[in-house]
Symmetry: D2
Subunit: 316 residues, 4 copies
């Protein structure tokens, strides 16, 4: 497994805050990348792989709970999981925050709760709570009123304590069938209302409408994309289009689901571990990812008991 050193549980003292880190990512000239994570373990793995930021995907978090991405988990259950994710990492987390879980007042409360847990920003989308299945294919789904959504953005921005906390406005106009002009009109309004970046979403398997949007947008504010469907477009194309940030939005939960299903079926079929032992992480790697070493060192420092003397042998 990885030999990347374990990130410290606490941010390095001389490192910018997570809020400043995310803002810098969004505003950086080179295209940056966020990877989805959905719990403390996947967040730490994303950081260890080298990602400078994490996308706390609503789909992935609801999926790991075993519920649907339709506000079945409460917003505080999501915040509780985010707290574990933030505690396990030193890079910033951007929350995929649905509609802000209600109106402008719910968003104000959410922003405060996120800042307390060092979640660096939230992305809100111009849909209506509670989320209906947003990718059902009908034409021209209703979106939030522009004024109402701008009021929400303003309320969120006014309520943040750290100047670098970021609010990203996700424009659903293309997906909802309202066309490029409406998407641009909304992006401009959200930008003026204070959004720190625009996330433009598309469900097409080609990046055409995204690239058209980017051309018209012309870098008025950082632009974020989520190429889940148009994944075959070369990243170089996004770079040239001036995309600020690319989000790989759901790939760790999908990696985990596939691997767990395969291993579960194999153990069930064979009734033994011998075939899979080498294909799963050793228990020692789980302990390493949990930071077991730090606790052993702390026990030596703070505990008077003479027990903590030898190496760890782990069983679970």
């Amino acid at each position: 497994m990885s030999t990347v050193p374990l990130p410290a549980a606490e941010p390095f003292k001389d490192r910018p805050s997570k809020f400043a880190q995310l803002r810098a990512l969004l505003e950086s000239k080179p295209t940056e990348f966020l990877l989805e994570a959905h719990n403390g373990l996947s967040a730490r793995i994303a950081e260890e792989a080298g990602f400078k930021g994490i996308w706390a995907s609503g789909l992935a978090i609801s999926s790991q709970f075993g519920v649907r991405d339709n506000n079945e988990a409460s917003w505080t259950q999501i915040v509780d999981m985010l707290e574990f994710m933030s505690d396990a990492t030193t890079v910033p987390i951007l929350l995929d925050g649905d509609t802000g879980y209600g109106n402008f007042n719910n968003l104000r409360r959410l922003v405060k709760k996120l800042e307390q847990r060092e979640i660096a920003g939230v992305c809100i989308e111009d849909k209506i709570f509670p989320k209906t299945n947003s990718f059902i294919g009908g034409e021209r789904q209703p979106l939030a009123e522009i004024d109402e959504f701008c009021g929400k953005i303003k309320a969120g921005k006014d309520s943040q304590s750290d100047p670098n906390f970021s609010i990203v406005a996700r424009v659903e106009a293309l997906i909802a069938g309202w066309g490029l002009d409406e998407a641009l009109r909304r992006a401009e309004a959200y930008h003026r209302a204070g959004a720190d970046a625009i996330l433009i979403h598309s469900k097409l398997s080609q990046a055409d409408e995204i690239l058209a949007f980017a051309r018209e947008w012309g870098n008025r504010a950082p632009l974020i994309i989520v190429p889940t469907k148009y994944y075959s477009t070369p990243t170089e194309v996004f770079r040239k289009a001036g995309i600020s940030t690319v989000i790989w939005a759901n790939h760790l939960i999908r990696a985990a689901a596939a691997a767990m299903a395969q291993v579960a079926r194999e153990i069930h079929a064979t009734q033994t571990l011998v075939n899979i032992e080498d294909r799963v992480a050793p228990v020692s790697e789980i302990f390493r990812l949990q930071g077991a070493e730090e606790l052993l060192a702390a026990e030596r420092r703070y505990s008077t008991a003479p027990e903590a003397e030898t190496g760890a042998i782990v069983l679970g």
Copy 2:
């Protein structure tokens, strides 16, 4: 991916309760198997793979939170995750419940909370709270007093509402270096105090001491083992030894960790999804595991909005 039909969110009406299912597994003549799960998703995957029961591993649950298996997550945070796991499955869950998270009174409260969430049983171990790293290699670690641990078992059994809720007593005497006689003495005491099964644990890479214990034990009560270290012992040996239940204790979290690390590193290195798209579960599989179909059907039944007409296209 799997074509196994999605388990219904609600237990089938004519099916035994989860409590009865677990008890039947423990008492069945043929050797049965439990697979570790640590969140709603992994629990559903374990069930779909065919497992008749699930081991809610303390190591795996703490690992997915990104904390250590030393009571860093509170017992209610664990219970909250168990509730998601139970809601996502129809097979019984046995909780790896440390020491019961405190004394006899904490166990009484835990039992009530577990029953409310249809968690079918709890395994408690004869160690001392808060858990120190139990597999540190010193000789003769202290264990709970036998009388105190028996009082805890009795308190737990007296507080259950469903007669089939199970309390499993995990004997740590072999691991803690106290030898076979002490292990047998404790198992017998715990059995008399009301434990529904005995879990005998070993950290050796050969099953010898487990098999010796099983021989001496002679089926006084169902015997459970966790062959994490002695995984190379053929399952046939356990069957012949009369083992009631074998727990594959941490293999889904290990499968997930390995797969996520690999995919994270590859996406980071290549800055594209094209190479990994076929190695992760499709988004549609995530939706299937979440039960998206049931919600679409329910929307047709309960919602007056005409929107839910066409097929789902998913993006995340």
Copy 3:
């Protein structure tokens, strides 16, 4: 203080379930009464005073948290408090459940969570989530669509496991300025959709419109009222009008707030406890309400430590 014996922590075995108790209250010929409670302590006090049921008020629960009754506390934070309330009592609790905290699907999930915690029923109102301040005095506030609200009721009823779990439909038409006919039309529709009782709400200081509604309603289904504003109407009038259940909706939180403010100011002004010691409950009463005796008895039963021998002296 009270000498009423402490209610057992566990329901008496030969007593009807909490679900059956609430249903019987709703359907009883004589007018019955529910008292507001907002945490475990107030719930136990309501039961000890003789009330056969408890109203878990949204206003009171949000108030004790220190937040506003506008979905600032998440629905799971409310459910967590309800669990403490249910654990502390043996009489049924009816939750004041806003709109069901979302759409039909959120209500389905809520019903399952309530049943697990033995909350006997939920009252939902025909407003729109997230709750805006519902008693702002404008004319003709928008209400939920009748069809949509009936779909929600049906979904809730279809998802309950215990046949006696109750769903009460709260009609806001009078308060929202839509008049008697609309109120009756809605009540009838909700009744047909499966509501077990109708709560008709009024903000007038006289009971006239409530009584007019009751006359027209003619006992088609149990009728519940909340005479917070028209409190001076004699209860005999409600009885004669055939009201099933009267809810005293917020009086324990108001009693607590007044008493705490008075004591806080007096201690602050005088810098001593001597003047207030006799006006507050003794510490021993707090211990009694917590059930300290039961734990001492249990320690004698389950604990081997010889410590629990003498009487309790309590300090806090």
Copy 4:
């Protein structure tokens, strides 16, 4: 009711942090006072009455949940309530944190969680987890080992981020029957280990042993007392003894319990509200305490809906 203006939900920008406020209270020359609170409402009431700090009593918080003060509520359930309390106030909160809910590592985690929620300090006591009923009258109850407790204090101090977060060491030696010398020996050791203040506890109805301790202690570090039992001692005596802080430890929960019981019994007996309406806080006062005005103002600022025009009429 009170006409004290509502404290702003957010700390005033030019005000010292809550951490600095608590530290200043502890170190101030004049004797200062903390009042118990147990939820958001009582915390706000304590602040409005003029108290500069709040004691988040373990007894009171468990009591309001309806459970016993024996670690029946999990530590995260307590932290969740503290978060509501902190959000509702601008003065600092000192948590009555039992033993730190486990060993040195549990305390480290607790300190981080408290700081995130702006809880200004924690008081830990030299007992053993899980708390047994600490005021059972036997002689010479076991206390934590001094070295182990000092290690815990050091670990807590090393893990705080804000230099003004305070850790108070509560010395149980007098209550546990070990005498003055042992109490002094422990206080000195805890002080050297880094405790920011010493809380010396007594169960006698006279302050003699407390005053003797204060004399011997001689202001080596701030001294805190809890005169629940010796409440009749004039405060002037404590001032002269150089006591830093006096905690009125459980008087709001006792005020609330007495008032609620009385009102509940009266409503039950009379079946009407007319007799109690003037003795409880008006509903408008509940709304004021919740900060309803601020939300109305915010709706005017951020909401485009024209609804929020007229005065609030409240019903609950």
